[in-house]
């Protein structure tokens, strides 16, 4: 019954699954995280090697190799080259491809419907649905975050679209599940509708909410992989897929929590738009402007400068300039530190990654709780493209959506310089009283350019 080749394949799959679990465990602690991905990679190699020798792989060996080479080479080059600041879209892209691959398995197996029982077909169809949504949704997220697709409101009635597509999808899925012959046309229709669903779901979501949505699609892709694993009778896929799904669901919740949002809010409504056109803008008070030269002088003759980076620094890709500025100030004997707020930027660890990329040394980076106790020692706080994380309304305004979020108390430092482009608002879309604060001076302009101006001004001082 047990043929020996299949025995070793099953064993390899088993160890692969165990290594995935162990790798995930290691990845969830900062100290062992990097070894975690290596452990998981070992499991992956095992699973891939086993699949080559799989008794069901009866033909197309060369095609498999070629497909792997093409897919692998393209994504290797791409993944190596991409900027670290583009991580979220990268994750979206690879995630989408994974979900898509699960859907292709479903397609092949549903075309061979006769070989499978009803329970396989049901899970196959369910996996195809989820995989397709993860595929089209993730790819659209990728395109939007890369700036290829303009963000926009979904114009039609989203609820109706959801219900209509879902109803047809379920009907088609039902037909496909309970028939043991292949229906290529129905199948194509089914796949197209599933892909459409993912697009409808993703189109109205704002860039800031994307990381949460991507995490949700990640969970979805995992589930699709788990389901297709059942279709193929591959328990390693079932285990790994479900593992990813459960971890992804929890991660999605944690990420939504961290930015003070509910998942349902994200999925059922566009965000920020109502705020952006609120009349609060009317109350906008007087702002003290400062030119680059004055800003430069203030910092060059200070003793303690604190740089607070935010989403705007990431958008402007200003991190390398910021590092240059830091070195320049330090050569003049100024002590420069960075304060990273937990939710600065648009994904966890966003600022840490960018500053690390630019070569800012870790000793200079302080976290919220550390630095807030020492604010009064700071001569100049330089806010680069940050808003919500230094928004005084979080402290004072009970009704503010930010209320209760701890902020960096830069108003307790001796003076504040803010770099921003226009008098726009942050992610939460609300006014920031810090801008009108007596200690604050604002320099308008793209962050990268502003920092460059300040650098030039400091150089001109000597």
């Amino acid at each position: 019954m047990i043929n020996s080749s299949s025995f070793f394949i099953d064993l390899s799959y088993f160890f692969a699954a165990a290594l995935f679990i162990y790798g995930l465990r290691r990845m969830s602690s900062p100290i062992s995280a990097r070894s975690g991905i290596w452990v998981a990679a070992a499991g992956m190699l095992l699973a891939i090697a086993a699949s080559f020798a799989h008794p069901n792989v009866t033909s197309n060996h060369w095609l498999i190799l070629i497909a792997m080479l093409i897919g692998g080479a393209l994504s290797f080059i791409h993944a190596k080259r991409v900027e670290l600041s583009e991580m979220p879209q990268m994750i979206a892209l690879y995630n989408g491809l994974g979900g898509g691959a699960a859907a292709t398995i479903a397609a092949v197996e549903l075309l061979r419907a006769a070989e499978h029982g009803p329970s396989e077909r049901i899970l196959g169809v369910a996996g195809a649905l989820i995989g397709c949504i993860a595929f089209s949704g993730s790819l659209l997220a990728f395109a939007k975050l890369s700036g290829w697709v303009k963000f926009g409101r979904w114009l039609g009635n989203r609820q109706t679209a959801y219900v209509a597509i879902m109803a047809s999808v379920l009907l088609l899925g039902f037909l496909l599940s309970f028939s043991n012959t292949a229906h290529p046309v129905l199948l194509l229709l089914f796949f197209l509708l599933c892909l459409l669903f993912g697009i409808v779901m993703t189109l109205p979501i704002a860039a800031a909410d994307m990381p949460v949505l991507i995490s949700l699609y990640n969970a979805g892709a995992g589930l699709a992989v788990g389901f297709e694993g059942y279709v193929l009778g591959n328990p390693a896929m079932m285990v790994a897929g479900t593992l990813v799904c459960a971890a992804g669901v929890l991660l999605t919740r944690l990420m939504a929590q961290a930015v003070n949002r509910r998942l349902s809010e994200i999925l059922y409504s566009g965000f920020g738009i109502p705020h952006e056109i609120s009349e609060a803008t009317m109350q906008y008070g007087h702002v003290n402007e400062v030119d680059a030269f004055d800003a430069a002088v203030t910092m060059a003759y200070a003793e303690e400068v604190l740089i607070v980076p935010g989403y705007g620094m990431a958008v402007a890709q200003a991190q390398h300039k910021v590092q240059e500025l830091t070195q320049l100030l330090e050569e003049r004997g100024v002590n420069v530190q960075f304060a990273i707020h937990p939710v600065a930027g648009r994904m966890p660890g966003h600022m840490n990654v960018l500053l690390a990329e630019a070569g800012v040394s870790y000793e200079k980076i302080r976290d919220l709780s550390d630095i807030n106790g020492e604010m009064s020692k700071i001569d100049v706080s330089l806010i680069i493209g940050a808003n919500d994380i230094v928004n005084l309304a979080a402290r004072s305004d009970q009704k503010s959506p930010l209320h209760g979020m701890p902020i960096l108390n830069v108003d307790e430092s001796k003076s504040v310089i803010v770099l921003k482009r226009v008098d726009g608002k942050g992610y939460a879309g609300i006014d920031n009283p810090l801008l009108q604060h007596e200690k604050t001076r604002v320099h308008f302009g793209d962050a990268k350019q502003s920092v460059q101006e300040i650098i030039s001004a400091i150089k001109s001082l000597d």
Binding site: Y13, F20, G23, L24, R25, M27, S28, P30, I31, A33, R34, G36, I37, A40, M44, A47, S51, V57, S59, L63, M68, G71, S75, K80, L84, M90, I91, Y94, L97, G98, G100, A102, T104, I105, V108, L111, A221, V225, G229, L232, N234, A236, M237, M238, A240, G241, T242, L243, C245, A246, A247, G248, L250, L251, L254, M255, G349, N352, A356, Y362
Partner: protein, 136 residues
């Protein structure tokens, strides 16, 4: 595979995934997202089998696309995660001491009353520190 056994696998793997992630610090959310993204790249194992027994142009084409996409998932997922974790590594090392202290505190706190005793047995080298009262 028996459908019920599959149900057990799904349930148990789900519990494992959830519990393993439960206490992850949020600075690791992005790398972990990317890492678990890599793990579902095991779909490649399935895509290879699907292509390996595909027949006719349609099935083979779909299977080919599947293997390509899955390989891209695996390779890209790995590279991106590893790059990201490499950035975090030195931060992690810097924080290691702090994390260890926290872990100790945490262990003590978890073991509320009794465990404290043994934790101190292991940790204490100081003769005069016989109090063990680190939490009060």
């Amino acid at each position: 595979m028996d459908a019920f056994v599959a149900l057990y696998l799904f349930m148990l793997a789900g519990i494992a995934g959830y519990v393993l992630i439960a206490n992850v610090p949020s600075i690791l959310h992005t790398p972990l997202l990317s890492g678990s993204n890599f793990i579902h790249g095991v779909v490649l194992a399935g895509a290879m089998v699907a292509l390996g027994h595909a027949e006719g142009a349609l099935q083979i084409t779909i299977g080919f696309i599947g293997v390509m996409a899955a390989t891209a998932n695996v390779v890209g997922g790995y590279v991106v995660t590893d790059r990201m974790l490499a950035m975090f590594e030195s931060t992690a090392k810097r924080n290691k001491r702090r994390v260890e202290e926290q872990a100790k505190l945490l262990a003590e706190r978890n073991g509320e009353l009794d465990r404290q005793a043994s934790a101190d047995v292991a940790g204490s080298t100081d003769n005069t520190d016989h109090d063990g009262d680190k939490l009060s």
